[in-house]
Amino acid sequence: MAGSASNEIRAEPNLTPLLDVVFQLITFFMLVFKISGDNFDQRVRLPVAGSAIPVEGSVVDQDRVVLNIDADGRLLWKGEALDIETAIKEIRVQAQLVRRNQSIQGNKIAEGGQLPTSIIFRADRNVPFSQIYRYITTCQANGFTKFALKAMNAEG
């Protein structure tokens, strides 16, 4: 053979820039990857409303209770579907917890007083109003006065 070992041309591609780009892509996807889906049940198909105001960061952080209601009017709570009677009891418990928390913070709220916590309704588009209204009146009876009705800004 004419070619000797010393004359071999070794092609070593520089992988470092490629690795840089890949890591940047991974960082991007990690940042946009949403893990906090605890309050947002995927079984609920929200209706669409163009003028629903997107929730900003400061609003998300405020004290709130999210009620996911499926098409049958059941409350989806901690992975379980509660019938309305059990759901009413759970709302009562939540109101008591809010009162206790406020009391610990030095802001005592009397029974029947208005609570600062917002109730966020994430109801399925097919739930009848009678079910929604029952949840609303239950929350009102327990002192909740701040409400928000969730909808999608565009068809998803």
């Binding site: 690795l19 105001i53 997107p54 109003f129 209204y133 999608m152």
Partner: protein, 165 residues
């Protein structure tokens, strides 16, 4: 001093690149850009006849509030009758009936533009069978930029009384 022979240490990038590509593949496959959720915020205090929905009105404004019109004259009551499928069959404001959301929107724009009417809040009396999607459509018209009537409250329409079907 004797000089040490330099030794080339080759770092194997290939396994790291493999792993990085696997991670990248995972994130690309699981990435689902969710459509943004919005919300309609409102203060709803327990229903009472002609109630003022400004639940958080500060005490300092009390005197000024007393000089205003009573809540009953500032409250626009809208009745929504449901179709059998939960959609909107009819919308009633006063003595007028509307079948579509466009008609409702046009009427609300007229009402808001009328300087003699002082409506700044609305009560939506909804049929129990009305779907949440239809309710949101109504709320969307009220809270939209054209009408901008954001103080809303809800009551349930008695299916046996009130409005004749």
């Amino acid at each position: 001093m004797r000089r040490m022979r330099s030794q080339e240490v080759e770092v194997q990038i290939t396994p790291m690149l493999d792993m990085a590509f696997q991670l990248l593949t995972f994130f690309i496959l699981t990435y689902r850009p969710a459509p943004t959720e919005g919300q309609f915020s409102m203060n709803l205090i327990p229903a009472a006849p002609a109630i003022d929905m400004a639940a958080e009105a500060p005490a300092a404004d009390q005197e000024q509030a007393n000089n205003e019109l009573p809540a009953a004259l500032r409250t626009l009551t809208t009745i929504v009758i449901a179709a059998p499928d939960g959609g909107i069959a009819r919308i009633i404001i006063g003595e007028n009936e509307y079948q579509t959301l466009d008609q409702l929107k046009a009427r609300l724009i007229e009402i808001v533009a009328d300087q003699s009417l002082k409506f700044d809040q609305a009560v939506i009396q909804a049929d129990p069978a009305l779907s949440y999607a239809s309710l949101i459509q109504i709320v969307d018209v009220f809270a939209g930029p054209a009408v901008n009537l954001t103080k809303l409250s809800f009551t349930e329409l008695d299916p046996n009384g009130g409005v004749a079907l």
